[in-house]
Subunit: 460 residues, 2 copies
């Protein structure tokens, strides 16, 4: 948790932004409840709502708060613990002191929220964010049946959370340092004949020992061509490429998100190395273009061009690069976007709406495969934190679909592509802060990324 002043300032700014947008009435924040895994007393690890953390800081279940745009009045709704709870949970600070720790002067019992709203709303608008969990959906149904989330509030919150404050950058650097450590353990744990799950256990131990846990379910697979592969039952085999896409969420709840791809045998084959080098070049090229004033959509497209250039040199595609970019040929190899925003959430604020978060008002999202999956297209501004994660995958089902539909026949060498049906996939991802003059990779160390660096690290 940050100092009280941080939360006071943020809420003040939020009210100002709402007023500037011509809004009035109340802003309602609903914190998370525990999320039952099997029954109400056996829950997943506690995780507070990110926007709640941002404005109210208190990292505990069953809290709500109301902010008056009109008067600036703030009320925290939360319950003090009873003696029965003290037996189970130990002595707890009072709601009074919790409220004070984030600069809120008034509080009332959680159960009074519904009645309070009924009494005080009286036709005034109540702005709230889209529910990110089923609990919040239910709660909002009870409190404000039929009401819709407030786009004005969503936009105000996004405009603030998108530009990371210095204390947030520090927290992100720390999360990335933990992510570096976790990935190093993962790399050092790759070993022929063990089940992938064993590597996952070793690496996630770091996330749990030094952070909140993983910032998303770990992807660790010898089938990188399956983009969101969460099964870890396979045995590590020689000659494969292992994609490890994983991040740590720090105890302060800031995310990291790195991807590296390793040759399971410790050395790349010639064929693997050729594709790997293209992805590595794309990662570095994207970073070199990343600076204020450029849209990340442009960086995505320029990187797609670079990728096609590399694939062209290998004879997998042929023709005019710009034409191929325009026709979305790169999407056959990289059906995802170059990156996304990152912060308190690994895909920052995705609960508030992907397009509102990742697109400027004058941008519309493409439908094309690849570009259409780009989560962050905005014009870059200092304080943005994004990922840089190009990848090349050979997905037989997708290639066959393209082929059947007669797509890309002028450009794609489908015959040669068949030799890559068992190749798998490669993705290389760093986390990047936009600075006033350019960009900086987050964390104090960069994971080995060139083929030479990777082979050297694996030889240790």
């Amino acid at each position: 948790m940050f100092a009280k002043e941080v939360y006071v300032r943020r809420r003040k700014t939020l009210i100002e932004k709402m007023r500037e947008a011509g809004q009035s009435g109340l802003v309602l924040f609903i914190g998370n409840a525990e999320a039952p895994a099997q029954y109400k007393d056996n829950c997943y690890k506690w995780r507070q709502d990110s926007s709640w953390l941002y404005y109210w800081g208190l990292d505990e279940p069953l809290m709500a708060a109301v902010l008056s745009i009109d008067s600036g009045e703030e009320i925290l709704f939360a319950d003090d613990v009873e003696i029965d709870d003290i037996i189970w949970m130990g002595p707890q600070p009072s709601v009074e002191s919790k409220a004070q720790s984030v600069g809120v002067s008034r509080h009332r019992p959680y159960g009074e929220l519904a009645g309070w709203l009924q009494e005080r709303v009286k036709g005034r608008p109540v702005h709230f964010l889209p529910p990110s969990r089923y609990f919040n959906t239910l709660k909002l149904q009870q409190l404000l049946p039929g009401e819709k989330p407030s786009e004005a509030l969503i936009k105000a919150v996004i405009s603030m959370r998108l530009i990371k404050e210095d204390i947030e950058v520090e927290a992100l650097d720390a999360a990335c340092d933990l992510g570096y450590e976790m990935h190093s353990v993962a790399r050092d744990s790759i070993q022929m004949g063990i089940v992938e799950q064993e590597i996952v256990g070793k690496m996630e131990a770091i996330a749990l020992a030094k952070g909140w846990g993983v910032s998303f379910p770990t992807i660790l697979t010898q089938h990188g061509e399956t983009l969101h592969n969460h099964g870890h039952a396979a045995v590590v085999e020689p000659g494969k490429l292992m994609v490890i896409d994983a991040g740590v969420e720090s105890n302060e709840h800031y995310a990291s998100d790195f991807t590296r791809t390793y040759p399971t045998s410790g050395k790349f084959t010639q064929k693997q190395r050729e594709i790997y080098q293209i992805v590595c070049d794309c990662n570095n090229y994207a970073f070199s273009l990343t600076k204020p004033g450029v849209t990340y959509r442009e960086v995505h497209l320029a990187t797609a061009r670079k990728m096609l250039e590399g694939l062209s040199a290998l004879g997998l595609v042929k023709g005019d690069l710009d034409e191929m970019v325009a026709k979305g040929i790169a999407g056959l190899f990289q059906p995802h976007g170059l990156g996304h925003n990152m912060g308190l959430d690994v895909h920052d604020m995705e609960d508030l709406g992907e397009n509102l978060v990742g697109y400027d008002p004058d941008q519309t999202r493409a439908k094309q495969l690849g570009l259409g999956s780009l989560r962050m297209a905005r014009c870059l501004v200092p304080g943005h934190v994004i990922t840089d994660e190009p990848g090349i995958y050979f997905i037989p089902a997708l290639i066959e679909k393209f082929k059947k539909e007669g797509l890309g026949y002028d450009f794609v060498n489908y015959t040669k592509l068949e030799q890559y049906y068992d190749f798998g996939g490669i993705r290389l991802e760093d986390d990047v802060l936009i600075t006033p003059t350019g960009a900086r990779r987050l964390g104090h160390h960069r994971l080995p990324i060139t083929p030479e660096e990777v082979e050297a690290a694996m030889a240790k």
Copy 2:
């Protein structure tokens, strides 16, 4: 997943039980959806509903099934994956083959469930279990607004899941072996000056590397007197008692649940050893009484008497043991029950209702502190799997409350108790199967438990 025949047999038995109970109509099962942690695409680790796993086996999100009590007809509602999903998730088996793998011959798209129910119910009763997650609550609101869970179904399911089959016992033994390994790592990781969280990371690595994960959020604390302590920010200090209450859920989703208490310095002080020995004796004594035909309520009370006997010898209580048991004096020291059922859930079937699961129809739950928290009171039957977990805690807030209310003045030596205000707590827990002739501790090894065994293990 078990063989197809297991699920076919279980569903057949369930129908028979429902018929025997004079029920008709349909039984509706709703499998879990992914549980968003921050937004819909960043979810907690996938965990299927336990009753679903028991009857339908399929370990995937967004499935439902209907069983006709009248005709025996079975339908699985689930969706086949589309090409877009194949890009992200890889090639997937068809719903057809999934249904066949658990012996179900008919299936329809998930989205057709609501319409199908509307068309087919026509006034017939639809039996369903209480929702264990907010998603299921919402889903049931949509499908069957205003309808209540079926007590007949709850009772039929409990009667089956309560008695573990041989294949389940095998799975529980395996989960306990993993739990043993995890606890051994935890014990070996206790080290002065490190943050508790670091031990948690090391131990949970085992759960993740070899099982699904932990069967509940790990309790690891030098304040054992706080019964459900999930904070791990404290530094390991000399002279403390560390309670570690943790379990593994195996990849087959069966739980283990062990507790051990360690002297952080590796050796018990005289004062710690005295209390520890009482708890250890209580654990063994409870086990010695555990056999078919005895109620676990009786075992709880006999163990409470044993505990008071030990505390009496130390001068912390005095007076007639039976009178103290009757008056609930043991609850001041052990405000929880002796144990609970365990199986697919660590508190097995708690979502179906604690009292229906843990109490025979002729038993009513006490209100007394301690006994009132007993989750398993039933008359023991071969196949029951329960925990044996006595504990002694010195909870200043609770002792002060008793004192203020004038409770136990004839028995409790409040003056002497003050010397224990900084003692902490001790709990020792094993997992136990009721056999035809008595009981057996689950797992192939028992964690060191006598003070001598513990000190020897810590000296290694």
